[in-house]
């Protein structure tokens, strides 16, 4: 029989039994043997492996102090010399997901295979997709046992050095990597077969994955705009003249944050549009207000139709911007608006 695989398991403070949100600042702790979900992990491993240690870290600590948590994990892994690291599962918890991702990345940097599990829309998947070997999970923590089993099967396979097939067949979250493969039947035959299956109502799997867009629940209506502060976000590329932040004309990854405090309107001498996807001549030679109607909003503010205008705007170029960066820009603006008590955001699209 082969030697049992040495496994180190990563958990957050909650699953590690230290405490809830009030203990989220806990620095990395190391326990001998399995803890919490680690017992299910040990069962799944059976005689094939042993959970030699559990690393536990508070969610806030790991998310905010990666530069300290990372080296602590590295020390622990060097001490226990595991053959495999299993992290989580983290489900849809963003900070826990980042902790699991950090544990996996540290393990990989030491040449140790690592497997985690999380909800496919976890922030850690968005930021570390290509570095993670992650089993997709739902949101329900009662599925722990079956998820841990899937992580174990995948982990043992990697430890044995077996090559991994496509994400959907192996059961991990796609890395967004395409590999060239040779099929034993040509494309038109496969396409006709899929078509026949579709017509007959039989199941089939397309070879082309269409990007999944998330469903966004609309915000509830604002009760009283006359008391509401309005935040302004634009994708019309409005920037101070000279474009000091070098906002690109297409494929922007960031947004500029600019003050419109006490400005009555956007003057063409001071503002311009950096947008590269439409003719900005009118905006840049006559009136940039057409792309951010500040004069009109000031008039509505003066007559009391709106309570006020937040003094900082977020501006990006909405030209071939991918969903990922756009989501990050939106989250950035939304976080500031929320903290500042801005009730609603008005967007001009470009």
């Amino acid at each position: 029989m082969e030697k049992p695989v040495r496994v180190v398991h990563y958990l957050n403070q909650f699953f590690g039994g230290i405490g809830g949100e009030e203990r989220a600042q806990t620095p990395l702790e190391v326990r001998e043997g399995p803890v919490g979900p680690g017992r299910a992990l040990q069962q799944a491993l059976g005689t094939k492996g042993t959970v030699v240690a559990t690393l536990i870290c508070g969610d806030d600590y790991v998310a905010e102090r990666e530069e300290v948590a990372g080296p602590s994990m590295r020390d622990a892994l060097q001490r226990y010399r595991p053959d495999l690291v299993i992290a989580g599962p983290a489900f849809d918890s963003g900070r826990y997901g980042l902790g699991c991702a950090l544990a996996c990345r540290v393990a990989r940097s030491l040449g140790i295979p690592a497997v985690t599990g999380m909800y496919p829309e976890n922030a850690a998947v968005i930021t570390h997709r290509r570095e993670l070997l992650a089993v997709p999970t739902g949101l329900n923590t009662t599925d722990m046992r079956s998820i841990v089993e899937r992580m174990t099967v995948l982990g043992l396979k990697v430890v044995r050095g077996e090559p991994l097939g496509p994400a959907l067949e192996e059961g991990y979250i796609p890395h967004g990597v395409r590999k060239l493969v040779t099929k034993d039947r040509v494309g038109y035959e496969r396409a006709v077969e899929m078509l026949l299956a579709r017509v007959a109502g039989r199941p089939f799997v397309s070879e082309i994955l269409v990007q999944q867009y998330e469903r966004v629940t609309p915000a509830p209506p604002v009760a009283d705009l006359s008391r509401a502060t309005i935040g302004i976000v634009v994708s019309t590329g409005i920037v101070p003249r000279g474009n000091p932040d070098h906002l690109p004309g297409a494929r922007a990854l960031t947004a500029g944050r600019y003050s419109i405090d006490r400005l009555p309107r956007l003057d063409v001498g001071d503002w311009e549009s950096a947008h590269g996807g439409f003719n900005t001549k009118v905006l840049n030679t006559e009136n940039p207000d057409y792309a951010l109607p500040l004069a009109t909003l000031r008039a509505l503010e003066a007559e009391g139709a709106i309570g006020g205008i937040y003094p900082w705007i977020y501006s990006t170029v909405g030209n071939q911007t991918a969903v990922g960066p756009a989501r990050k820009i939106g989250q950035l603006a939304a976080a500031e608006f929320r903290d500042a008590g801005v009730a609603v955001a008005l967007q001009v699209s470009g």
Binding site: P218, D224, L225, V282, N287, A291, P293, T296, I306, L346
Partner: protein, 56 residues
């Protein structure tokens, strides 16, 4: 079609242009006050209807 001036029309006389901008922005404010369940198109009215915004 390219929209080169989303919040107005420079070909209009100044006052009509300001009125158009007001109608567009008021429609946006109306949208903020309206409960929706999915993507919903709000069309600015062809003439000024200031009372639409003052429903609250």
């Amino acid at each position: 079609m390219q929209v080169q001036h989303p919040c107005g029309d420079p070909k209009l006389p100044a006052e009509a242009d300001r009125d158009l901008s007001l109608r567009i922005v008021r429609t946006a404010l109306l949208a903020l006050q309206t409960a929706v369940t999915g993507p919903t198109l709000f069309e600015p009215p062809s003439t000024t209807a200031a009372e639409r915004v003052h429903a609250s």
